[in-house]
Symmetry: C2
DNA sequence: ACCTGAACACCGTTCAAGT
DNA sequence: ACCTGAACACCGTTCAAGT
């Protein structure tokens, strides 16, 4: 837990420690004190390297997406655009509460910039107008972040209470099915589909629609 | 601030008080103690009406979208789908930090159910398969929540530090433009578009693409 | 049934002081 | 330049006790 003699504490060490604490305790359990002990130091020491907790969270956000990779340039722009979306989601799903950390935070690490650069290059090369390429990139990240945010949060109070994802969604389905059919016929009829726990196909559906919509611009 | 003689504290009162505190102090400043004094009571009293803070936030989420309204049934499914997206965004933008509260929370107030019911009815009526209608609805809320989450969060540390939105985005533009043009030609070229602070057109762009992609399914 | 006082184990952050 | 101890003003939550 406590880093022994790794002299000269750096911002990288702090980010790594924060990542470890996040994995172990979740975002709600991430405190300056815990990060400090993780790195083998007293809490106030962190303030020499970091202005406040908000800045530490910026560091953490950068660390989360530091592993971002540029997909190989196989296939057309569409296939690569989809791949960007899938990889971004996978990156967020890989770390606990990652979407909550990253959402609404501006991350500008070198890896992110490289990925963004490649993405824009591909879109412009495919014939998108400059403004459209920029907005297409923004659209993708808004969708992925919004989706994973839902995906990563406990569905309800039945959360850490141990119930499995499948159980929770089955219970949610029951709720919809139990609604009065005269007032909510569609919710009753679609209960199954609305609460289907298969997140992969759900994500892919949205991704394909977005790509189709973009393709229509060309 | 303190509610004088409004006997019999209810969950509705608590939700309203939480909404007031949220507006005044933001989500980070929302504490059980502040909500308690807002409602004219000691903090521990809240625990009679609410299991914990998480449940209070559920209440708050419901209160935020309690004003949701079903748009008039003018225009085709597409126009109404767009209208749902726009209204949802407007609803979130109307309350401070609303996206952060709502994101990843399952809200099942009667108004929300009514809106969802209408939405599904419209999509099925337009010819969408059951599963597609359900996923189209989910797609919309993921996009809107992701978008507004970005929109409502301070763009950087230059946040509450007083800088206007325009100033911050101009500064961000400078950052992109200052990158080495050999390695990041597209970021340099699109700096303007990437940091354009006009969120309305940005939102509308994504919304139109999604609607187009859905239309292609019919 | 509903509310309070006192208490517990935590927080983020500041600051004088150490080396 | 970097770290610590002590302290401040807060937290969420529990629980015995009041009415």
């Amino acid at each position: 837990m406590a880093q022994p003699p790794s002299r000269t504490l750096t911002r990288e060490h702090i980010a790594a420690a924060a990542l470890a604490v996040l994995e172990r305790e979740g975002l709600a359990g991430l405190s300056m004190r815990k990060v400090a002990t993780e790195v083998g130091v007293q809490a106030p020491s962190l303030y020499w390297h970091v202005r406040n907790k908000e800045e530490l969270l910026d560091l953490l956000g950068d660390a989360i997406i530091a592993d971002a990779e540029i997909p190989l340039r196989t296939g057309d722009w569409r296939e690569q655009y989809l791949e960007y979306g899938r990889r971004y989601r996978a990156l967020l799903l890989a770390k606990r509460d990652a979407a909550k950390v990253v959402a609404g935070r501006l991350t500008t690490g070198p890896r992110v910039l490289a990925v963004l650069e490649d993405q824009l290059d591909r879109l412009r090369g495919a014939g998108f107008a400059d403004a459209d390429a920029a907005m297409a990139s923004y659209l993708l990240s808004a969708y992925v972040q919004g989706f994973v945010l839902q995906e990563q949060s406990p569905l309800s109070a039945a959360e850490a209470a141990g119930a499995s994802r499948g159980q929770v969604s089955r219970a949610a389905g029951e709720t919809f099915r139990a609604l009065p059919a005269e007032t909510h016929p569609n919710l009753v009829a679609l209960a199954e589909h609305l609460t289907d726990p298969d997140m992969d196909t759900r994500f892919e559906f949205g991704l394909q629609r977005i790509a189709d919509g973009l393709a229509a611009l060309l």
